[in-house]
Amino acid sequence: MISFDYVVKDEAGIHARPASLLAKKAKSFKCTVTLSCNGWSCDARKLMMVMAMGVKKGDTITITVDGEEEEKVAVELKQFFEENL
C-alpha cells in the first residue's frame, strides 16, 4: 500500500472533466485507488462520489494505492494529478 498527498492547484477543484478522467484511469488499474480529503474517502473509480467530495483548489488530497503494480500506478497517478489538477 502506497500513499501520497497532493495539493489541488486547479481553479475549479476536482470538477467533472478531471474527475471523469481520473475515474477512467482508475478503472484501468488492477489495484484499488482511494481518494481521501477532509475526512471523506471514496473509491476513485466512482465518478459521482469523487465529484461529490467537492475537492476545491488548495485542498490537500491523499491518494492511496493498494495491490498489484502499486508502485507503477502511484507514479502514473502522481503524473496525472500534476498534469490535470
Binding site: 477543484g13 467533472a16 465529484m51 476545491k56
Partner: protein, 549 residues
C-alpha cells in the same frame, strides 16, 4: 421471459379480437413507464443497451460541439458520457432492478437521488452538477422509452401492434397511423370516452378502464385483446390462442353472413321503414359508411375539423369537406351537427375559458351563438354545400326555445347574405336539434313546431337526467341509458315529434344495443345513427322484428 398467462379485465369499449405484441404509447415530451417489472434480465439488458446508445449519442454531440465551440466547451459531453457509464449510477440502477423495478424507473430514481445529493452541496459548481445528472437521466430514460434519436408520439413498430396507454386524447389519435394498431388498451377511460367512440367507428378492438390492472402489462409481450368481453389476456398459452382463433373464425363467418344484408331494405316485419344511418367524424370515414350500406349519415361530428386545425377553419375549407360528404352520399340524408366543443378541449384560436363543469358549461350552441362570426362561417359553408346533396343541419345542446330561435335567425341571416352575394343553396335544407338536455325533452311539444326533426343524444341525455358523469368509470353502474326516467323523456320527445309530423331519431351509443333499440322503435323512433360497423347487424335485427305484436 416470464411465462405466466394472466387475464385482466376492463371495460369492453370496442368489439373485436386482436392478437399481437403490446407497445406502450408515449406522448411526445412525456415519459411513461411501468414501475415494477417481471423480467429482471430484460431490464438489465435494456439498461446496458441504453447506456451504450447514450454514449453514442453523446459522442456525436461531442464531435459536433467541438467543431462549433471548440474542445474545451465540448468537454461537457465527454463528462456526460462518463457519468452515463459511471459505476455509481450503474450500481444504483442495478440494485433497483434487482428489487424488481423497471430500468426507466430505476434510472429516474437513481438520478433523482444523485442530483439531490449534488443540489444540496455548498459549492456552486457542485450544485451545477445536479443539472448534469438531470440531463443524463433524461437522456437514458428517453432512450429506454423511445429508442435513440426519437422524441415519441409515433408508434414504434413496423408491424401492427396492440397500443397500450394510460389514456389517449383526440390529439394523440389524430396523428396516428391506424393501420399500425391492432387494438387499444388503456388504464383510464369509459365506453363513451373519445377513444372508445373512435375505436368503434374504426372497428378496432379496445379495452379501457383497466385501472390498477394496467400495471400488469409488460411491454413487448404477446397479448390477446377481447374487445367483446372487455378482457386482455397477457402471455396467452397455446390453448387460449386456439380458443381465440376459433372465436375469430366465427366472427368472420358472421361478417360474411351480414354482407347479405347489403342492398336489403331496413324494414320491420310489419312494414315500418327505419333509417339506419352512420356516425362519422371526418371525410375518411366515408368508405366505411358506403361499405356498410348505410341509409344515410345521422351524425357528422364537425368537431374534428376544428380540432385538427391550428386556426379557425375557413368557409372554403369547410365547404369542401361538407360538399364531398354530401356528394358521396348522393340522395341519402346527411345530418351535420354544428360546432360542439367545450372547455374540456382547448383550441389554440378560441378562448373557451375554464369551466368547473365543462359538460354543462360554455360549449356547443352556446359558443356558436356568442361567436357569431364563427357560426356564420360554418352555416354559410353548410348552406353552400347543400347543393351537392341532401343536407340537414343539427344544433347540439339546445336547452331553451330562445337558443333555438337565435340559431335559426343566424341561419336566416346567412341565407340572406348568400342571396345578396348570388351564391346558391338548396331550398330543402332541414333544420333539427339534438335532444340531449332534459329541458328540451320536456318542452319537445313546443320545440317540435320549430324544427324538421329531433335526434336524441342518449349519452348526454342519460348524463344530464341522472346527474352522472359519463366519463367517470366509478359511476358506470348509475350511468344507464335504459333507466326509466331517461326512457320516459325519450318517449315524450318521440311522441311530440310524431304529433307534429316530424321524425325523431337516436344518435347515441345505445342505439346499437339491440334490446334498447327495440324499445326505441316501439316508442316511434324511426331513425338511428350508429358506428358504420354495426349497421348490417342492426338491419338483420330490424328485419326480424314485428312492431305490431
Amino acid at each position: 421471459m416470464v411465462n405466466a398467462m394472466k387475464m385482466i379485465r376492463g371495460i369492453a369499449a370496442s368489439g373485436g379480437i386482436g392478437k399481437g405484441v403490446i407497445k406502450m404509447f408515449n406522448r411526445p415530451g412525456e415519459f411513461v413507464f411501468q414501475e415494477k417489472s417481471f423480467d429482471k434480465e430484460y431490464e438489465i439488458k435494456s439498461f446496458k443497451k441504453a447506456q451504450s446508445l447514450a454514449v453514442e449519442e453523446l459522442k456525436s454531440l461531442y464531435e459536433k460541439a467541438r467543431k462549433l465551440v471548440g474542445e474545451k466547451d465540448a468537454q461537457i459531453f465527454e463528462a456526460h458520457s462518463m457519468m452515463v457509464e459511471s459505476e455509481d449510477l450503474s450500481d444504483m440502477v442495478m440494485d433497483m432492478i434487482e428489487e424488481g423495478y423497471t430500468a426507466p424507473y430505476a434510472v429516474q430514481k437513481a438520478g433523482e437521488q444523485l442530483s439531490d445529493m449534488f443540489a444540496s452541496m455548498d459549492d456552486a459548481y457542485m450544485r451545477e452538477r445536479a443539472s448534469d445528472i438531470h440531463d443524463i437521466t433524461a437522456r437514458l430514460v428517453r432512450i429506454l422509452c423511445f429508442g435513440s434519436g426519437n422524441t415519441g408520439g409515433e408508434i414504434e413498430s413496423d408491424t401492427p401492434c396492440i397500443l397500450a396507454a394510460e389514456d389517449l386524447f383526440p390529439s394523440d389519435t389524430m396523428a396516428m397511423d391506424m393501420n399500425k394498431v391492432l387494438a387499444f388498451i388503456t388504464k383510464k377511460g369509459s365506453r363513451v370516452s373519445h377513444l372508445s367512440i373512435l375505436a368503434r367507428t374504426l372497428g378496432i378492438p379496445a379495452v379501457v378502464g383497466l385501472n390498477e390492472q394496467f400495471d400488469c402489462i409488460f411491454p413487448e409481450s404477446e397479448a390477446i385483446v377481447d374487445g367483446d368481453e372487455g378482457m386482455v389476456i397477457l402471455m396467452p398459452d397455446d390453448s387460449t390462442v386456439q380458443v381465440y382463433k376459433r372465436k375469430r373464425e366465427e366472427k368472420l363467418v358472421k361478417i360474411k353472413r351480414l354482407q347479405g344484408m347489403k342492398g336489403k331494405e331496413s324494414i320491420t316485419l310489419d312494414g315500418t321503414r327505419i333509417d339506419i344511418c352512420a356516425n362519422i367524424s371526418s371525410l375518411s370515414d366515408i368508405p366505411k359508411v358506403l361499405e356498410n350500406d348505410a341509409d344515410g349519415i345521422g351524425l357528422f361530428r364537425t368537431e374534428f375539423l376544428y380540432m385538427e386545425s391550428s386556426m379557425l377553419p375557413s368557409e372554403e375549407m369547410q365547404l369542401e369537406v361538407y360538399g364531398k360528404v354530401l356528394e358521396s352520399m348522393k340522395n341519402k340524408r346527411v345530418i351535420i351537427r354544428t360546432f360542439d366543443i367545450g372547455a374540456d378541449k382547448s383550441l389554440p384560436y378560441l378562448d373557451l375559458g375554464k369551466d368547473e363543469n365543462p359538460a354543462m358549461g360554455y360549449r356547443a350552441i352556446r359558443v356558436s351563438i356568442m361567436e357569431q362570426d364563427m357560426m356564420k362561417t360554418q352555416i354559410r359553408a353548410l348552406l353552400r354545400a347543400s347543393v351537392y346533396g341532401k343536407l340537414a343541419i343539427m344544433f347540439p345542446m339546445i336547452a331553451t326555445a330562445s337558443e333555438l330561435k337565435k340559431a335559426k335567425s343566424i341561419v336566416q341571416a346567412c341565407k340572406k347574405e348568400l342571396d345578396d352575394e348570388g351564391l346558391p343553396y338548396s331550398g330543402n335544407v332541414e333544420i333539427g336539434i339534438m335532444i340531449e338536455v332534459p329541458s328540451a325533452a320536456i318542452m319537445s311539444d313546443e320545440l317540435a313546431k320549430e324544427v324538421d326533426f329531433f335526434s336524441i343524444g342518449t349519452n348526454d341525455l342519460t348524463q344530464f337526467t341522472l346527474a352522472v358523469d359519463r366519463m367517470n368509470p366509478r359511476l358506470a353502474d348509475i350511468y344507464d341509458p335504459s333507466n326509466p326516467a331517461v326512457l320516459r323523456l325519450m318517449e315524450m320527445a318521440a311522441q311530440n315529434a310524431r304529433k307534429n309530423g316530424i321524425f325523431c331519431g337516436v344518435c347515441g351509443e345505445s342505439a346499437s344495443d339491440l334490446q334498447l333499440l327495440e324499445k326505441y322503435l316501439r316508442m316511434g323512433i324511426t331513425e338511428i345513427s350508429v358506428a358504420p360497423s354495426k349497421i348490417l347487424e342492426i338491419r338483420e335485427f330490424i328485419r326480424s322484428i314485428d312492431l305490431s305484436r
